[in-house]
Amino acid sequence: MQKLADQIKDAAKKLLAEQKVDLVIGFAEGSLPLRGTPLFARTPEEADKLTWNLGCENNLANYLRKREGKVAVVAKGCDVRSIVALIKENQINRDNLYIIGVPCSGMIDRKKVNAILGGKELLEIEVNGDTATLKGNNCSETAKVADLLHNSCKDCRYGNPVIYDELVGELLPEKETDDFAEIKKFESKTTAQRRAFMNSEFSKCIRCYACRNACPVCYCEECFVDCNQPEWIGKSALNTEDNILFQVVRVFHSAGRCTDCGACERACPMGINLRLLTRKLVKDVKELYNAEAGVNMDDKAALATFTADDPEPFLVKE
């Protein structure tokens, strides 16, 4: 990790010193253990703060839409997929973007760390190869890094950036294909069971919209939930149905564009299982159209193209 951090720093400083870019967006050491935080470096000195660790979980593609000037971004696999999706949607000008690609085998989920520490606060983390030592107040636990990763990272098959201008680190071995096991399990439940789960999960929603704002492909000028004339959705938090409606519309709006990066779920302060919904759509799009968002520069976004033999099971009751 230290080596990667140094390589990223060197690459960024060089780009800035040679004035190839005006800005490098990457990660700095955050203020909490295991926390990378987005950094905007405009000078080689500022780029000295760049780092790379297992807490660089934010999707930096979110900061790239409609940018002026030349920008470089430090991007792991999921960030690059989102970038590709956004280039296709004309939100990012590829010519003005320099991608410092970082092969990524996953970021650590602090919720899993907290569970292992029994709710105690994490004060320090030491990573040694594939094990992590988690230190809290008067307690210490060890765990396999692989067990601490975000579920989205475990499911991710594109840790290697699909496009880049420069790669730091080594490409990682391919993983097996995603089997969507937990989605299939949820699909096999009855409507009533699914409804009950949704109700209990979304009763926790406080409508802070962190999920929406953390998502790189959620960028409408005016979100339907914000619009008050007409008012598409109840504004108050009295009603779980409205919370579900918000989420369902959000997820449908990103169908075929969602890269399963997990940024929405990570952002949710209430720990709501949002990937259950987003991944259902990822799975459907893959099964129906054999399409995945942002995996190459050639495919058109699944819902932006039409062929006469597109399946339409949702229109025709078979």
Binding site: G30, K204, R207, N213, A214, A237, L238
Partner: protein, 339 residues
């Protein structure tokens, strides 16, 4: 007075008959204040609840009145919640936050009957913090892990029992008939020791902060500070002192309710005028407002900083926007104090 931890559930059970009792309840990986039906549901763990106790007095969505319009005219019915409440296990920072909100809802210009009725009918039973989190900085903003501001009773954890400190008359009435034994000298010593040993390690220096904010509205520092902020409502909705609200009508045809909802200065609609003009066009102005409101405007209006140092915004911001770092950046900025 002293109460054994084992006796807390039955004490709460007794209160449940007479009051709506709210206590932290375990919800997956965190705790939340909920109304409990059984004393055994109270999860008095270390640390603070995910959402502040504020929502019990100032709910996220609150029906103010219902209306019904017919050919004969309009019928209005106000909805004032005057049920007696006990909030059990509130942390000192959350209790202090209510004393700050009191300024907003009860001042020379306006007295809010909804808030004030709830407030008057609520008894706050606090539990001091023996092990403050690394993100707690209450002592930097005139609070502390055993501060009694806003509380009616304070419980001090001495291992298998709590030593009860009576803060107000209201608190006294709650335990007068509870049959608790009085605390021995040893218990009192244990309580004093717990207070002594609780260390709030995080300090936030607010010296000169207000003076900087008085003059740095146009300082370029805000360009940099806001840059990574996503403009979500997580920090404001989790903050015990944020109190901005919006008022909407929740109606079908001629029947409906007027509802008061929490709002957030991070949202684009926050100050959008009817004309379409918005004085806070971008995230820069919105984030600046969050800091200005807490550390300047509130100080100008009520003489106190509107932050109680609970650390929720630090722990929960999706991009690790840390208010401690922001304040340090503002203090260190080059805004000219003489300009």
């Amino acid at each position: 007075m002293i109460v054994s931890k084992n006796d807390i559930p039955s004490f709460l059970d007794k209160l449940i008959g007479e009051y709506q009792v709210f206590a932290p309840v375990q919800e997956g990986s965190y705790t939340l204040f909920k109304q409990i039906c059984s004393g055994a549901d109270a999860a008095l763990t270390d640390g603070n609840t995910k959402l502040p106790a504020k929502e019990i007095i100032f709910p996220q969505s609150e029906k103010l009145f219902s209306y019904n319009v017919t050919a004969e005219g309009a019928k209005l019915e106000s909805i004032i919640d005057d049920r007696k409440k006990v909030v059990f296990g509130v942390r000192p920072c959350d209790a202090k936050s209510l004393t700050l909100l009191d300024n907003v809802f009860n001042n020379d210009k306006y007295q809010d009957p909804y808030y004030l009725t709830r407030r008057a009918n609520t008894i706050l039973v606090g539990i001091g913090c023996n092990s403050p989190a690394s993100t707690c900085f209450c002592t930097s903003v005139k609070g502390g892990p055993f501060d009694t501001k806003g509380l009616d009773l304070l419980l001090v954890d001495i291992g298998d029992a709590y030593v009860v400190e009576v803060v107000t008359e209201k608190g006294k009435t709650l335990i007068d008939n509870a049959g608790f034994a009085s605390a021995s000298e040893a218990d009192k010593a244990a309580a004093a020791k717990a207070k002594d040993e609780a260390q709030v390690t995080c300090q936030v220096n607010t010296d000169g902060l207000k003076e900087k904010l008085d003059v740095n509205f146009y300082d370029p520092i805000w360009e940099k500070i806001h840059e990574k902020c996503l403009g979500c409502g997580a920090c404001t909705y989790l903050c015990p002192t944020c109190h901005c609200f919006d008022i909407v009508d929740d109606a079908v045809d001629c029947n409906g309710c007027r509802v008061r909802n929490w709002d957030s200065c991070a949202f684009p609609l926050f100050t959008l005028h009817g004309s379409g003009h918005n004085p806070r066009t971008s995230n820069k102005e919105r984030y600046r407002n969050r800091i200005m409101h807490k550390f300047k405007y509130f100080v100008d209006n009520f003489g106190e900083i509107a932050c109680v140092g609970c650390g929720r915004c630090i722990k929960n911001c999706p991009v690790n926007m840390d208010i401690r770092v922001v304040l340090e950046d503002v203090r260190g900025s080059e805004a000219r104090l003489d300009s």
